[in-house]
């Protein structure tokens, strides 16, 4: 179903439409939250919070074209709020990084990295080495596929900066990833 129709039915209070919307975008929202939090539990919580906020503001939202960037913005805000709170007050238990989801320890050798299977672990590890702004450039442009204009709005930076930075960010990521696994680009 078209997103526009779906949103219209959501606004009309159709629970089925809302469920379908959640189902359609849960993967994206969860991936966004996970990108910032790197912990499945926290990411799930933040994803749920994001959908609750979306639900609350759905009435005032008209333009289906802008739904995706709008959703990304809410997910980003919720995630950053949570990251800040966790930094100020780290969780009680041994709830540090989600080793299982993240893959091998940063100190692990290339063999271990290769055995970890999923390439995204490697990408996450490389992302960890990047500057924050470049990491967000990668997330928003390369991973989420937002337009440069949308990224400029989202991150509150000039469009020209987005254009210049997007290539730099890619190159930085390529450098980081080849440093971890020299065979990546071969």
């Amino acid at each position: 179903m078209e997103l526009e129709t779906l949103l219209e039915r959501c606004r009309a209070g159709d629970e089925l439409a809302w469920e379908a919307l959640v189902r359609r975008f849960q993967g994206r929202v969860f991936a966004l939250a996970y990108h910032y939090l790197r912990n499945r539990e926290e990411a799930r919580d933040v994803a749920q919070e994001t959908f609750i906020r979306i639900y609350k503001s759905l009435d005032g939202f008209q333009d289906s074209e802008r739904f995706l960037p709008w959703m990304v913005r809410i997910a980003r805000n919720c995630s950053i709020d949570r990251v800040r709170r966790l930094k100020v007050r780290p969780p009680l238990g041994g709830d540090e990084l989600d080793e299982q989801t993240i893959g091998p320890h940063p100190g692990a050798g290339p063999e271990v990295v290769a055995m970890a299977g999923e390439r995204s672990h490697l990408v996450y590890r490389a992302l960890d080495q990047m500057t924050e702004i470049n990491r967000e450039m990668i997330l928003m442009k390369e991973i989420q596929g937002l337009k440069q204009r949308e990224i400029a709005d989202l991150l509150s930076i000039p469009l020209g900066t987005v254009k210049a930075r997007s290539n730099r960010a890619r190159v930085e990521l390529a450098r980081c990833i080849v440093e971890i696994d020299p065979s990546y680009g071969a």
């Binding site: 991936a31 990408v123 390369e142 991973i143 680009g185």
Partner: protein, 357 residues
């Protein structure tokens, strides 16, 4: 053939561009002319002298001392080219091959030259192309299967159901809880005789997770007050929970989890004490059997409400807990709905009878 002519045509000869007849003339001249033969040997490398090749790192070292290296520029161009070309610009081999460069960005022969000689950039170009293919796949990541229904429960509340609250129900089985129809809090809020802003506030309250937690803690306090009225020492529990309210959610969560079992336990003990005191009072009062049973009913319904509220809180169903508390507070004395007469008025009547007798 003169030496001048030999020297002019030497390179053409070595490159195999001379006719057979001319090659013969060149050979016969070289055979008879030492100087020209030496020249030929030098040019072909047969002279036994080492070939003079520039050292491998010479270009790099010149670049380092002049512009500071062309790699940055090369990689930016490679990255820009990824945007311009379709997805099939991939892999170092493709990147290096000018024929594969598609899109509006023209193949830059200088870039190709750099990539041919710079292994690092070739590897990075390969990584860039591969990232271009792999990153979009990270846009989505499935949460657990229960996620959607949790979101539904937290928003439209459709999935609000009473699940078993094991520790509480074990002590006080309440089978009616299981069969109770799902509570629609939205309907309930709309049905309240409240002004729109108040109802909107309530809606916000129940939808904001943080506030919901604060509400849960306040609800727990209310529960303790309702259940554990006057006696047993629950004094330190509210203050501990209130301290939790001011802290972050995670801590509140653990505070609630940590204290709740205790709260229920203390509440139940308090209840038993209170109930028996009330029972004593009823027994020593010059009352009718009706009053006694009224009291017993009231105590029973309070106790039941407490258990329901507790299990709602325990399950995180804050709106349902609020609703139950609200019902308890607004209609505390009303018994079963099939009674024609309000139990409160009946109790009054009985009290009246008591005083008359």
């Amino acid at each position: 053939m003169h030496c001048t002519e030999f020297q002019e045509r030497l390179f053409e000869w070595l490159e195999g561009r001379l006719e057979a007849a001319e090659v013969e003339r060149m050979q016969s001249h070289a055979a008879g002319c030492l100087r020209c033969r030496e020249l030929e040997e030098l040019a072909t490398g047969d002279a036994g002298l080492p070939a003079v090749e520039p050292p491998d790192d010479m270009v790099a070292s010149i670049m380092a001392q002049t512009t500071g290296g062309a790699c940055d520029r090369a990689l930016l161009l490679v990255s820009e080219r990824l945007d311009a070309g379709p997805a099939d610009v991939a892999g170092p081999a493709d990147v290096a091959g000018p024929a594969d460069v598609a899109g509006s960005v023209e193949a830059d022969p200088l870039l190709e030259m750099h990539l041919e000689s710079c292994a690092e950039c070739t590897s990075l170009a390969g990584a860039l192309a591969r990232l271009q293919r792999e990153l979009p796949a990270m846009a989505e990541m499935e949460p657990d299967p229960g996620f959607v229904s949790d979101v539904m429960a937290a928003t439209i509340g459709a999935a609000v159901s009473v699940r078993a609250a094991a520790p509480l129900q074990e002590a006080t089985p309440a089978p009616h809880l299981v069969s109770r129809p799902a509570f629609d809090w939205r309907e309930w809020v709309q049905g309240l005789p409240l002004a729109a802003p108040v109802s909107a506030f309530f809606e916000r309250l129940t939808l904001r997770p943080r506030l919901a937690f604060e509400g849960a803690v306040v609800g727990t306090l209310a529960f303790v007050l309702v259940i554990g009225l006057p006696s047993v020492g629950v004094a330190e529990l509210p203050s501990r929970l209130m301290a939790g309210v001011r802290q972050e959610r995670l801590e509140v969560q653990s505070a609630v989890a940590e204290n709740f079992g205790r709260a229920a336990e203390v509440g139940r003990a308090a209840w038993t004490t209170s109930a028996s005191r009330l029972g004593e009072y009823v027994n020593i009062s010059p009352s009718t059997a009706g009053t006694r049973s009224r009291f017993a009913d009231m105590l029973g319904s309070w106790r039941q409400a407490g258990v329901e509220i507790a299990s709602h809180l325990w399950e995180g169903e804050f709106s349902a807990a609020f609703a139950r508390m609200w019902r308890l507070w607004t209609e505390p004395w009303r018994g079963d709905s099939n009674e024609e007469e309000g139990p409160g008025s009946r109790a009054d009547n009985q009290d009246g009878q008591r005083y008359q007798s």
